[in-house]
């Protein structure tokens, strides 16, 4: 049972992380597109509990950042005006989950803009951009994985169940697709589609294209499961009392694929998120001004940014807890399904 508990632990963490991203509007003090020309490339603001006179404040506060005289990107703290942090404040309007209008934010400050994770060249809040960008990247990951798994399930099921020439052709096709360097072809395909499309179109484009390229590996795995399920005696018995193919498939064979599909999903989603990030990083994915983890990192292609503005690297770290959780979930799922298979065969033995 500890296997199940471990699985539950990972699941809880995953759901929590996704909730944070889904409620980006709540956790971010500002929206991701408002520019602030007075604070380009502002470094992350430091949270203080001790003020310049050595007093401890229970409520943490920031000092506003002003550009130092004579420079154009060096900031210093203006210690004359401490700005206390307020929690659960009213702020800019946003739509929770893209639908429910809200204006409650987790934290915020009055009279100034405070950048917890710094700002970019246009003075946009990086924290907000990372959270909202996560929505785009994660959604791309899920949709892409969904398309691939659906295709893979369909193809694998047909190949495994009917066998014969259908199986031959489909598996040869799969071999072809597996031989393709996936990323290369993705780039190639993307590039030959119109380069200047709206963010929504670009998003859908990369999702659909990458989804349709990756079906081969899941298809092979599904085929294996379907083949072995087809040979199981209880499936034969069901055929024996006159069950039609679709009934057999629906009631007996499809349930066998569920654990495989789950495990594959936990492996594929991060891969598709990474694909979106790579494409956007190279300018072939989601374009500005919409934020995605990939195009947030695109700034780092400039030497000056690498040299002076280290906080622009932070979006790269944002995805690490997600990938870690997906990996943990994948291995917990794997162990759990192995475990239940061993348990089942021990009972039958």
């Amino acid at each position: 049972m500890t296997k199940r508990r471990e699985l539950a632990k990972w699941l809880v963490v995953l759901v929590a992380l996704h909730c944070v991203i889904a409620c980006a509007g709540f956790f971010a003090p500002y929206d991701p597109v408002t520019q602030d020309r007075e604070h380009p490339y502002a470094p992350p603001s430091r949270l203080h509990f001790l003020d310049t006179q050595g007093r401890v404040h229970l409520r943490p506060f920031f000092y506003p950042l002003r550009i130092r005289e004579g420079s154009f990107d060096q900031y210093q703290e203006d210690t004359a005006q401490p700005i206390p942090v307020k929690f659960f404040v009213d702020g800019a309007r946003y739509k929770l989950l893209g639908w429910i209008p809200c204006h409650l934010h987790l934290f915020g400050v009055d009279d100034a803009r405070v950048y917890l994770l710094g700002s970019d060249g246009y003075g946009r809040d990086q924290l907000a951009r990372i959270l909202y960008g996560g929505q785009v990247s994660l959604l791309a990951g899920w949709l892409g994985a969904g398309i691939t798994l659906s295709l893979g399930l369909g193809v694998g099921a047909v190949a495994g169940y009917y066998g014969g020439w259908r199986d031959e052709i489909l598996m040869r096709l799969a071999e072809l697709f597996l031989a393709l360097p996936w990323l290369y072809l993705l780039f190639g395909l993307r590039a030959f589609l119109p380069l200047s499309v709206s963010p929504l179109e670009a998003f859908l484009l990369i999702v659909v294209v990458s989804g349709t390229l990756g079906w081969a590996r899941p298809a092979r795995l599904v085929r294996g499961v379907v083949l072995s399920a087809k040979q199981r005696d209880f499936v034969r018995a069901a055929r024996g009392f006159g069950a039609s193919d679709s009934y057999l498939f629906r009631r007996h064979i499809l349930p066998e694929t569920s654990s495989l599909l789950l495990t594959q999903a936990t492996i594929l989603v991060p891969q598709f998120v990474l694909a979106e990030m790579t494409l956007s990083f190279l300018g072939l994915g989601v374009p500005e001004p919409v934020a995605s983890w990939g195009n947030l990192l695109a700034n780092l292609q400039q030497y000056s940014v690498l040299m002076s503005y280290w906080w622009m690297y932070l979006p790269a770290l944002a995805m690490v807890p997600f990938f870690l959780t997906y990996l943990g979930l994948a291995s917990a799922l794997q162990e759990w399904s192995d475990f239940s298979k061993i348990g089942a065969s021990r009972e039958q033995g």
Binding site: L180, F192, L297, L300, Y313, A316, V320, F323
Partner: protein, 325 residues
């Protein structure tokens, strides 16, 4: 020999299939090199049409494919619009650089993965094993994009490593030894990233394969004969565990090639990666096709080598081949 020739035919057919698929995909997509030109009001539409005709982009698909195959057999692989030269030589120069990187990375990665995997399999559950597993888990989680950018950031801020390119300015005037050192210095970061991204999967497989073998009776018998530990591990255990590892070797070449695409772009290494991205952005059709095909070729070649190695290494497959002759 029949086995080898059969695998060879299989590989060639695969490459053909991929070339058709790539051709189909890239040609079906709307837009081409001259699409941007068409939007430019300063260029007359007739010019665009004439250019397209000159490069034969207006011919039907099968005709274009046939001509491309012909050009491929001559070593040209089509024509690049941006560079105004045949694609073949262009690719070749870049391919050499990519191979330099990937081959070094492959050797280094396996050179590390084998001892690490063997070591952690030997001390399963012990501290070294746990440490290695954790490190590998972290490396597995961190995507190559993040790692490459991170190392680049480090290079820029520390100033210890060059931040791009193949050679420093004034390369030509260096002594041979200095040239080598300069090259190595430029190679370190990209190779490190490639190795670190490939390592977790490899170490995992080596460990699993070795752990499976270490319990075997024949190994215990050998230990009973007093054979020293290192010999035992590397001359007895490892060959028995080799099968899945050889297949992984073939696969790892392909995986490293794919990773190198992105890393070359980030680290400004003049290999196939940047060329491909550039060509994609410029819609240089034949360069893209050529690039995709070349990397597929390496991938297929890697698998082919792995098949041959497997055939040579595993006596069971050989005897079955003899039997069916």
């Amino acid at each position: 020999m029949r086995f080898v020739s059969r695998r060879l035919i299989h590989a060639v057919l695969l490459i053909f299939g991929v070339s058709i698929l790539t051709f189909l995909f890239t040609s079906l997509a709307p837009g081409d090199y001259f699409a941007e030109m068409r939007l430019n009001p300063q260029i007359a539409p007739e010019t665009v049409i004439a250019l397209r005709a000159q490069y034969q982009l207006n011919r039907p698909l099968p005709v274009r494919y046939a001509r491309w195959v012909e050009s491929a057999l001559h070593g040209d692989l089509g024509f690049s619009f941006s560079y105004n030269s045949p694609v073949g030589p262009l690719l070749w120069v870049r391919a050499r650089n990519t191979l330099l990187l990937t081959v070094t990375a492959t050797l280094l990665a396996w050179g590390l993965a084998l001892p690490l995997g063997v070591w952690s399999a030997e001390r399963q559950g012990g501290l070294p094993d746990t440490l290695i597993s954790w490190t590998m888990a972290v490396l597995l989680v961190v995507p190559d994009l993040v790692l490459a950018l991170g190392l680049l950031l480090f290079a820029v801020r520390s100033g210890w490593f060059p931040t791009g390119g193949l050679a420093a300015v004034g390369f030509e005037s260096l002594s041979p030894l200095d040239k080598l050192r300069d090259l190595a210095l430029h190679m370190i970061l990209p190779v490190v990233v490639l190795v670190l991204t490939a390592l977790p999967v490899m170490v995992g497989h080596v460990r699993a394969a070795m752990a499976g073998v270490l319990d075997a009776p024949f190994l215990r018998a050998a230990r009973g004969h007093g054979i020293p530990r290192r010999r035992l591990l590397y001359r007895y255990a490892l060959p028995a565990a080799a099968n899945p590892l050889i297949s992984l070797f073939g696969f790892s070449i392909g995986a490293l090639l794919s990773s190198s695409l992105l890393i070359e772009v980030i680290m400004s290494w003049p290999g196939l990666g940047p060329l491909l991205v550039e060509a994609i952005l410029a819609r240089d059709l034949y360069v893209v096709i050529g690039g995709v095909l070349l990397s597929t070729l390496f991938l297929v070649a890697g698998n082919f080598v792995a098949d041959i190695l497997l055939f040579w290494a595993d006596p069971r497959i050989r005897t079955e081949a003899e039997a069916t002759r």
